[in-house]
């Protein structure tokens, strides 16, 4: 399997939006990455090829909203390409530039010029949460006027899908969003988005009976997808055949989250095991800084991340759980919610939501396979079914 290194530039901590569920608690307009820092980070990373042996690299740009810094990003990407070539680095011609954007300035001339220039190596996801009322419930402009951003995003979807026909979107579900799940996923399908990566937030935001409402929404969505025949061409990551099974504590002991195998760098030139460990992402803990562009990476600080396994961080209830597979966690949220400053305490706020998802997921596959068998289409479906990735962060 091709191993991939994910390296994230936190180019800005600013964003046009103030999404209500955003985990970035410390967004601001001051911390913009200077070019010198970006260059020093690149020089360090490419200059230590022996420490970055993965076959390929994804250069990820995150904010805030990354496209607010399109000029810096363009300069970074030009330098990366030049330097990977000049150094005859093994990542040259095995790289991608990746963006997750709110889509608001997607059609701006500078962003479009950048896309044209780098299209072959680009992955861009636009975040749209579903119907207007669902999207605007959370994804509002900053400034306190509760102004939703749906209209400014949806107008760019056709252009985006023209340039990236296989583009997927990432939908985040918090407590208030639950009633709109079905309509939102179907709406995204109707916009032509074939892959909907959707997940519930890891934070402890859930109210009593949210799991029941969530399960009801997923059952309704399952009915719509199956009865409407969407299952052939569209995928929604809530429904996956691999979830909801017990996990052997030895054979399936790997960590879920990739923190520590990734690398993030911020405007100050500090390195993090993942963006979620930067100060602006943390509510109650100190950032975990694993080095900086001047001194390099302190490998000792990566050791806990690289030796972390499922059972060591899980409570016995989770180890013994009969529907454990697919129950995700975010190492940053684990750390932020832990009783002590450790990454070794798994947060379980999504437990009841995962169990509700598993029940709906069982319903989905039982109903779908019965339908396919009655229509004598099961074999054909197996050959051509869309693959859904459990994209969770």
């Amino acid at each position: 399997m091709n191993s991939i290194k994910n390296i994230t530039f936190i180019v800005t901590k600013d964003c046009q939006l103030a999404c209500k569920y955003c985990y970035l608690v410390g967004k601001n307009s001051k911390e913009r990455m200077p070019w010198e820092v970006a260059k020093q980070a690149i020089d360090y990373i490419l200059g230590h090829e022996e420490d970055f042996r993965e076959e390929s690299v994804v250069w990820d740009f995150i904010g805030g909203e990354p496209f607010l810094e399109i000029e810096l990003i363009d300069k970074i990407c030009d330098y990366l390409k030049t330097e990977m070539f000049r150094r005859n680095h093994h990542w040259f011609n095995s790289y991608r530039f990746s963006f997750s954007t709110n889509g608001i300035n997607y059609d701006s001339p500078k962003v479009q010029e950048f896309i044209t220039k780098n299209h072959e190596h680009l992955s861009i996801g636009i975040t749209i949460d579903g119907t207007k009322r669902k999207h605007d419930l959370n994804r509002i402009y900053k400034g306190g006027a509760e102004r939703g951003s749906y209209d400014d995003v949806v107008r760019n979807i056709p252009l985006w899908l023209k340039q990236f026909p296989h583009g997927g979107t990432k939908v985040t579900i918090s407590s208030a969003d639950i009633p709109y799940i079905k309509e939102s996923v179907l709406h995204l399908f109707s916009l032509g988005i074939r892959e909907v990566h959707i997940n519930v937030v890891f934070e402890n935001v859930w109210k009593e009976d949210d799991d029941k409402l969530f399960g009801d929404q997923l059952i309704q969505l399952a009915d719509e997808i199956i009865d409407g025949g969407y299952y052939n061409d569209y995928s929604c990551s809530f429904f996956s055949e691999n979830i909801g099974k017990p996990l052997d504590r030895v054979l399936y002991n790997q960590n879920w989250c990739g923190a520590g195998m990734m690398l993030s760098v911020d405007a100050a030139g500090n390195f993090y095991p993942c963006t979620r460990f930067a100060a602006y992402s943390l509510r109650s803990k100190k950032p975990i800084i694993i080095g900086n562009v001047h001194d390099g990476i302190d490998k000792n600080k990566l050791r806990p991340f690289l030796t972390l396994d499922r059972t060591t961080q899980s409570r016995q209830e989770c180890i013994d759980c009969e529907v454990a597979s697919g129950c995700a966690w975010c190492q940053g949220e684990n750390y932020d919610a832990a009783d002590t400053a450790t990454i070794y305490q798994r947060a379980t706020a999504i437990c009841k939501m995962h169990k509700a998802r598993v029940r709906a997921n069982n319903y989905y596959w039982n109903k779908l396979y019965r339908k396919l068998e009655l229509e004598d289409m099961r074999e054909e479906f197996e050959k051509s079914k869309p693959k859904s990735n459990d994209l969770i962060c």
């Binding site: 975990i288 600080k301 806990p304 030796t307 972390l308 002590t340 070794y344």
Partner: protein, 308 residues
């Protein structure tokens, strides 16, 4: 399971481990706190280890200490169960000694260390700067251990039974035998609060794990146990200190040792392996113990892909 209660009798109590106690101002533990601490130890069935300062305690403190079975950890001076030295020196007295030294002092005063070993029933060497070891230091340390091991072998041949933690402990052990702070032991500081070990107190007094009034409250206490230490539970450098304070200092997690800690412990383990093999050339020695096996790594972290 908790077995030991360490009581710091004074703010300036001697350090007997990796941490430095830089505090100079005397501040005795209040007598009522000492009494409550002793009572707590009795009720929880804990073995108490008193850590003494350099100065002589008031008589009422001496009397209180004697109300419970205990161990005394003291700077080299008068009667104690463990003496602590900050310099290698010949010692008179049949008392085990903890020698706290930096790597440079150890490298420079190797001969004095060997002489010290000859004069004490047991020598526990604590490297106070293990986290600063470089590749060059590893090489020097390996050579030093080989030379000291040769001396230990000679002593065994002469019919003596020297004990030096860096070399002889691993020969005797069949399982991990580490510091145990937070799991087997906790520390009561002069402020009446509990800490994982003295180092946690001296580093940050806010880092307490309970107090005498409310008892212990060790959050994520499982992380102090071997089973919850992914690197250490795969390791057979059984003599390693596995200092949870140093772990946290270097890797930010109490259950994860630094690369330097692991390599130093494995150099000791490998030197012990050779020492055991060499002593056995002279006759039967520890017949119930298996040979220490050959391994191809110095840091178990490097073998993590093979763990199951």
């Amino acid at each position: 399971m908790l077995q030991y209660l360490i009581i710091l009798l004074d703010e300036t109590s001697t350090s007997f481990c990796h941490y430095e106690n830089t505090r100079k101002e005397r501040n005795l533990i209040p007598l009522d706190v000492l009494k409550k601490g002793i009572r707590y130890g009795m009720m929880e069935n804990l073995m108490i280890q008193f850590v003494f300062p350099k100065y002589d305690l008031p008589q009422e403190y001496k009397d209180e200490v004697e109300t419970i079975d205990h161990s005394k950890i003291k700077p080299i001076a008068d009667e104690a169960d463990v003496w602590v030295a900050d310099e290698p020196a010949k010692v008179d007295g049949n008392v085990p000694v903890v020698l706290r030294v930096s790597k440079e002092v150890l490298f420079e005063k190797e001969n004095e260390v060997v002489e010290m070993l000859k004069s004490v029933p047991r020598l526990n060497i604590v490297l106070t700067d293990v986290e600063t070891f470089t590749e060059n230091d590893f090489t020097r340390y390996k050579s030093l251990l080989e030379r000291v091991a040769a001396e230990v072998e000679r002593m065994y041949v002469d019919g003596k039974s020297p004990q030096i933690n860096l070399l002889t402990d691993r020969m005797m052990l069949s399982a991990m035998n580490n510091c145990g702070a937070g799991d087997m032991s906790v520390t009561l500081a002069p402020n009446g609060k509990f800490y994982v070990c003295p180092a946690f107190y001296y580093e940050n007094e806010e880092d307490s794990i309970g107090d005498l009034e409310h008892g212990l409250d060790i959050r994520n206490k499982q992380l102090y146990k071997l089973e919850y230490a992914p690197i250490c539970r795969h390791c057979d450098a059984y003599q390693c200190k596995r200092c949870v304070w140093l772990n946290r200092k270097t890797t930010l997690e109490v259950n994860t040792p630094s690369h330097e800690q692991c390599v130093v412990a494995h150099l000791e383990r490998n030197a012990s392996k050779e020492l055991l093999r060499n002593i056995r050339k002279h006759g039967t020695f520890l017949p119930e113990k298996e040979d220490i096996k050959e391994i191809d790594y110095l840091d178990p972290f490097d073998k993590r892909e093979t763990w199951q």
